[in-house]
Symmetry: C2
Subunit: 218 residues, 2 copies
Amino acid sequence: MTRTSEAVTVVRGEEEVFRRTAHLFETAGEITCAANALATFGWREAAGTLSATHPPNPGARVRKVYRSSMLLDPSWDRRLAVIRGHSGVDVRITTQEVNETIILDGRVVILGGDLRAGERTYSIITERGAVQGVNSLFEATWRAATELDVYDAEVAEIRVLAPQVLDLLAQGVKDETAARELGLGVRTYRRRVAELMAALGADSRFQAGVRARELGLV
Amino acid sequence: MTRTSEAVTVVRGEEEVFRRTAHLFETAGEITCAANALATFGWREAAGTLSATHPPNPGARVRKVYRSSMLLDPSWDRRLAVIRGHSGVDVRITTQEVNETIILDGRVVILGGDLRAGERTYSIITERGAVQGVNSLFEATWRAATELDVYDAEVAEIRVLAPQVLDLLAQGVKDETAARELGLGVRTYRRRVAELMAALGADSRFQAGVRARELGLV
DNA sequence: CTCGTCCCGGCAACTTGTTGCCACCGGCGG
DNA sequence: CCGCCGGTGGCAACAAGTTGCCGGGACGAG
């Protein structure tokens, strides 16, 4: 279940990570974190105190980068409210695909890996050089990402039409038809689709379809 | 949970349907059935004896129509073997989208409806006219569908490349690039994509993406 | 009222995807 | 050897999707 080599530990399953790092979270003064899916927002709720919505250390500075597609998730509203309720938690949005990453005090890195047999593999890294490398990458992503409030305002309107657009796309309806259906010009409909694809971080409609389904939006 | 009006009963959840109709399956001499997803192949395994792979009534004539996309499912091979092991079970494949439908002895119809709160709604119909109507529709679908063995032979080759093609599509790779990656001509690559889309019953790549994800192929 | 701003949607240029057509190649039975 | 496949891939015509550009209408501030 566990494989260790020097300063890198590979573990399987969130619970295992939780057990091994809980003490680090409790004392950490700075937690930075990147995530693709809502479910990993500070691990799952069930994990309890580890949730970043209830940072173990009240004084900790928490920074989080989310993938933009999450703003399309129906449950996002509630999450957003929770996040806003906490000061000291700084959230940004990126359109890039990001690996699940947690950095504690710039000293310990937890990297999410592949899913295997239903469980995700995590690497816990303490090796100085590796940690610095990851840190640097994270900072780059952080700088490129946009402030939550800004982003949220930008896409607020998209969210109104998104469900309908997604529905039409999922039905395999042609743009021409779909636009008429929604009472929009074809140009505008395509604008919506483009925004949607951007939000999903998709390069092609196929990919957008996959991601939309992944998020349960269709 | 349950709503009844004359000869139509609406129930929620497979278990409920199972409880109400188990006795019908046991005595039925003719079971016809259409399904979209493998999971509904004679209900879920857990439901036990109701599985059509173990028809309650050994002498029953069983006819099943599956959506073609199921042949792309990795677990299909095993299923296929099981099906082949049973005589009296006649399977056909359609490229059409089919609602989940079960007809017992041409007298009782079970129709799968929408998902609501995670559970699917089923309508159990005994009203003569309605049953005949459904029966007639099913027969039309049945005639239009192709024999399993025939279809399986046709797509046998597709299945070799399908995973790779799906993977490339899911990555948002352009046809040009993807074709080179696979050592194919662009024309041939697109032929594969077209076959894939046909197998998935998709009219657009977006839809194909959704379905592929639905089936867990990506 | 006028100006600025924002969004819509038509137009157009371009890219990407879809499909039929056909020449080409390798195998296989006559 | 020959002709008959079945699959391949280039070509081309067309359909669909993508994007910049711009005129025009709505709406609020000045």
